[in-house]
Amino acid sequence: MAMPEWLRRRRNKHETTEDAAQWTKCPKCGEVLYRKDLAANLSVCPKCHYHFRMHAFDRVSMIIDSDFNEIGNEVVPGDPLKWTDTKSYPDKLAAAREKSQLTEGVVCGFGTIAGHAVALAVMDFNFRGGTMGTVVGERIAMLLEEARKRKVPCIIFTASGGARMEEGMLALMQMAKVTAAVSRFMGDGNFFLTVLTDPTTGGVSASFAFQGDIIIGEARAMIGFAGRRVIEQTIRQKLPDNFQTAEFLLEKGHIDMVVERSHMKETLARLLDYTAKKAPVAV
């Protein structure tokens, strides 16, 4: 993927100012990795297969054949609660924007996967922990409405720490908004697929993540309703390591399949192919 110009500029600047940032350490096996090599390997540790969290644009680039026509990027957050704690909410947003090089926690648009036209939303944990506020809900709802008009399948990659506190109940209501858009989209017979990446929890998990026709868990992703810490505090004991992993959920019957990142695109391509309507069906 050729990076969009503004993104390339920011990244270059970042890399120049802070050389150490060119290297990172695998949190699982400790291997020190050169960021560019890591990116070339889909952000998967070449030694232990640990799946690093991915930037939304890298994810888009990994999945989409070539052109991606983004929608909703102009929709940006307000400050409805006039929230200020250690910082004001607008200041937090500005910092998140700088850090993530994104205008909000989800990137939405249209493209093709192995030639199949799709609507694609990719959430990004780098933007305030992938929390869902108004803009995440609004952009995804816009995407689903447009996908419904175009009668193309919709795929959402989720990554979320839950609802965004600083938008209060307006954030919670995005669960309702997106669900309404999902049910209307699916009600017309369209195919809805979700890919749950690390981590998918809270209000995102308890709404559109688990409304897909097919639900894929990315290998080793942490997926659950309540966070691990909350549960451990409640039950006052440590949880087993595999608890809430994609593999655990597969065994418990919650998700359709676990897919390694390196096989993600080809798997999506096959699933889109199965469900593609070749010709108008007699109804």
Binding site: W6, D67, V75, D85, E138, G168, Q174, K177, A206
Partner: protein, 325 residues
Amino acid sequence: MNVIVEREKKLLELEKTITDLRSAAATQPSLSTAIEALQDEYKKIQRDVFGSMTPWQKVNMSRHPERPTSSDYIARLETFDQLHGDRHFRDDPAVTGGLAKLGERSVMVIAQQRGRDTKENLKLNFGMVTPEGYRKVKRLIDLASRLGIPVVTFVDTKGADPGIGSEERAQSEAIAQCLYSLTVARVPIVATVVGEGGSGGALALAIADHVMMLEHSTYSVASPEGCAAILWGDAAKAEEAASHLKLTSQDLLGFGIIDEIIPEPLGGAHRDAPALIATTLQKIEEALARLSALSAEDLVEERYRKYRRIGAWQVERQTAVAISG
């Protein structure tokens, strides 16, 4: 410690003094002036204490142990036939559902159940619903939609159960499917938050054509304790979180998230539960009467538009970025 229960104590003592004096006044008429003075003081304190509560005080009011629970509302319906179970695994007592008559009207009632004492709370899992409870909710919404019976919900939960078993049995999926069913139900839905409306676990009963809150109920994206823990790693800062979260009925009416506030008696719902419950049921009936005039298609369409609108965002002037690989 419930701050409202604490603040109430002095009033309750005063109340008892007045009652005692009244009995004595039967034989000692001279006491009547003293009684009047005490009554004035009582009203003054009551206004001071309850006239304008802080968000944190409202949180405590919504959790008041004597606050009427869903079962008190259900007890006042003409008839009620409870329907149990998720058809698969368990009947979760933290959700009560069933067919009922509200006036002349058949309704499907779905209510979260908080306990009033430790024993009840243990049985009801402190009002935290498990996946089986949400699957019962979904089943009853779908059944009501199929049979053309309006849905009436009562919301009162700290939040969905965060236990190991609930994770193992797909709590997320259970809530997600309730939400889905609520958005497609072809019947009127009226939801009332009667106590604490905690997060997604409350929303699973509260996507509705008409959403009401009792005046001193709260409805929040997360419990103040949870919010404080998430943002500042310190659950003890709950009072501060409450002040930020805009979780009162007045706030939420302003955001268009709820449609109506049911006034509570001064001092809270439990100070005159029968009247409050009667008012609540009457307001539900009125809402149903209005909504019943709409066709199923219009109901679903209006519900869609209502939730489609909610939020606060702005549009930044810039060209959409095109990414090419």
